[in-house]
């Protein structure tokens, strides 16, 4: 071992790490572990019965299913929006660019009430969809619409800077080598933005899983049909069933964690597939 202590050029590692861990513990780990500890009051059979009740299972399916579908749709349309914003000049571009952030800033309940008003049977859009047999408000489709709304900016804002950074020369080089527009997109541009796109997808997905405010108004909250898991947790809390609420919360936590882990691994794989020497 060397006698000399090696100092990094960047000072304050110990302090910074200590603060980071403390902060992370206070803000994230302690509240989360509280949920686990509180749940531990239940016996295994009690826990199992609570989290596998048919109404609860139906809510998982809706929450994760609708969130996934919304994130997929957002990945497509978010990419399209980012593409248009980066590539083409058009009047009112700055305004559109600013509008993208609106779902970030808008109180979720406002978004929920607005969406409901538009999509109900006599609303602006609902009145045209209803005769076609499509009911949006108070159905799982409504949940999907709300989750799509709140997830869009995540994809646009992660893809946009990467798309802006792609040098024009790369596309010119591809064209000079005989590639068509589509080949250039598929072989050059898409692989470059893929890591950012998966990040945007993961963020939109994660946000949708945890979304509450905008969904409860448009969902109608019909048990077994359009009831999301966060709402079930609230319902349990209102009935003073704290352990039941935390039990469901723990399940949600674990599923979310696993899903995000998978997405992160996928991202790591995308990045490293091309960095391996």
């Amino acid at each position: 071992m060397s006698k000399h202590k090696h100092h990094s050029v960047l000072p304050g590692f110990n302090l910074a790490l200590g603060f980071t861990l403390l902060y992370l513990s206070l803000v994230v780990l302690i509240p989360l572990s509280a949920a686990f500890i509180h749940t531990a009051k239940l016996t295994w059979p009690e826990f199992w019965n609570t989290v596998t009740a048919p109404r609860v299972v139906a809510s998982y399916r809706l929450t994760f299913g609708a969130s996934f579908a919304a994130a997929v749709v957002n990945a497509f349309f978010g990419l399209l929006v980012a593409w248009v914003l980066v590539r083409y000049p058009f009047p009112g571009k700055r305004l559109v660019d600013a509008l993208i952030d609106l779902p970030f800033a808008l109180p979720t309940s406002v978004a929920g009430i607005t969406l409901t008003a538009i999509y109900v049977g006599n609303g602006w859009i609902g009145q045209y969809l209803e005769p076609l047999g499509i009911k949006v408000a108070f159905t799982p489709i409504g949940v999907f619409v709300a989750l799509t709304f709140i997830g869009l900016p995540f994809v646009v804002r992660t893809v946009q800077p990467v798309l802006e950074d792609i040098e024009k020369e790369l596309e010119e080089a591809a064209a000079m080598l005989g590639a068509t527009r589509w080949q250039t997109f598929r072989r050059i541009i898409f692989p470059t933005i893929l890591p950012a796109l998966t990040t945007g997808f993961a963020l939109a997905f994660a946000r949708a899983i945890g979304e509450y405010g905008s969904v409860i108004f448009i969902a109608g909250n019909i048990p077994m049909v359009s009831e999301i898991t966060p709402l079930l947790i609230i319902t349990k809390l209102e009935q003073y069933d704290y352990t039941g609420a935390t039990a469901i919360a723990v399940v949600m936590l674990i599923i979310s964690f696993v899903l995000l882990l998978i997405i992160n691994l996928l991202q790591w794989w995308i990045r490293h597939r091309k960095a391996i020497a």
Binding site: E167, E169, L170, E172, A173, A174, A175, M176, L177, G178, A179, T180, Q183, R187, I188, P191, T192, K274, A275, A277
Partner: protein, 360 residues
């Protein structure tokens, strides 16, 4: 393949990038477009490539009008200053790209692609890097890969936009020689853009000197260096000493020296500027009977085969610097020391009378 450019013009807003350019590029030629930044050389190259469109005029490949032909159909190889390698692909895939994107009917078999790419990587002497990614390569290596990639589609014309501009001096010199050899082996017509006069003079068969959207002179490196068509070319190619003076009936007065300039016999008392290359300045310790300028040595730089002298002529008010280059032997003969007085006179000069100027 021959390339002809007819009356080409291009404007960006109010900035005239190219003004009525006419140029003939012979088959198999290595042509340099030389000029300062903003001279329009890159715009011209990009129009030939089809990456930019001209406002008016024509580009002809082998006498065939190709002005409106799409980039894809021009079969032109292009090398960018900053390499423009595809970051998400290995070196091998970068070079193979041009072959892989061909329509199925024209696409070579996988085996054939491997063979061709390996051959090209051997040509640029980097076949051992096939599995690496661009960010793992040095600048010089990246540019050689960019060249291999451009050559993969077997272009009959190779265009290079400041190909060595982002490289350090040593690599630059190496690649220059290497490009010349490659061009000769491949039997292509090549055009490269540069702002480095040494590069243009050393590598090219012919040099096109451009300035502000115009072509100032076209000629062999020797022609443009020895017989510059105008003051701009003179100043742009190599170091020069600039003198102001007057010319009248075949005689010039420059800084008090009277010099015969028979080619300007018709000049009637005109202002003129005279250029003298540093190696055309004669330095001596004595006057030798002939008129000469008195100067004193302020700096001596004796690295390499020649000695560069910085001399100052005139008193405090009118003083001006003269740069002179002399051989090592001459330097030893003279045994000059800083601060000493010497006499200088131009051995050869280029005089440009200013015809537009009104008499004062």
């Amino acid at each position: 393949m021959s390339i002809e450019i007819r009356n080409l013009s291009r404007q960006f807003g109010s900035f005239v990038a190219l003004h009525n350019i006419n140029l003939q590029v012979n088959p198999g030629e290595l042509l340099a477009l030389l000029g300062p930044s903003g001279s329009g050389k890159t715009t011209l190259l990009r129009i030939i490539a089809g990456l930019e469109t001209a406002d008016s005029g024509q580009v002809l490949f082998n006498q065939e009008d190709s002005t409106t032909k799409h980039v894809r159909d021009r079969h032109v190889g292009f090398v960018f200053q900053h390499y423009a390698l595809f970051r998400n692909m290995t070196i091998f895939e970068n070079v193979a790209f041009g072959l892989r994107v061909r329509p199925r009917k024209e696409r070579p078999s996988a085996k054939e692609i491997t063979r061709r790419v390996t051959e090209l990587l051997q040509l640029v002497q980097l076949d051992w890097l096939a599995d690496r990614y661009p960010h793992q390569l040095s600048g010089g290596q990246r540019q050689r890969i960019a060249l291999a990639r451009a050559l993969a589609v077997e272009p009959s014309v190779l265009l290079l936009d400041e190909p060595f501009g982002a490289l350090d001096a040593k690599v630059r010199k190496e690649l220059r020689t290497w490009l010349r050899k490659l061009h000769d082996d491949m039997h292509m017509t090549s055009i490269f853009v540069t702002h480095d006069q040494d590069e243009a003079l050393e590598v090219a068969d012919r040099v096109v000197v451009m300035n502000r959207g115009h072509i100032e002179q076209v000629g062999s490196p020797n022609e443009v260096y020895e017989k510059p068509a105008n003051p701009f070319v003179y100043e742009f190619l190599g170091h020069v000493n600039l003198f102001h003076g007057r010319v009248h009936h075949g005689q010039a007065w420059i800084s008090g020296l009277k010099i015969d300039v028979p080619e300007h016999a018709a000049a009637e008392d005109l202002n003129a500027i005279a250029y003298v290359r540093p190696h055309d300045i004669e330095v001596s310790r004595t006057i030798n009977g002939e008129p000469a300028l008195a100067a004193h040595v302020v700096h001596i730089l004796s690295i390499g085969p020649v000695v560069r002298l910085e001399l100052v002529h005139g008193d405090d008010l009118t003083q001006r610097t003269i740069h002179a280059t002399i051989s090592k032997e001459r330097f030893r003969e003279l045994q000059l020391i800083k601060g000493e007085q010497v006499f200088v006179k131009p051995r050869r000069l280029a005089l440009f009378p200013n015809h537009d100027q009104k008499q004062e």
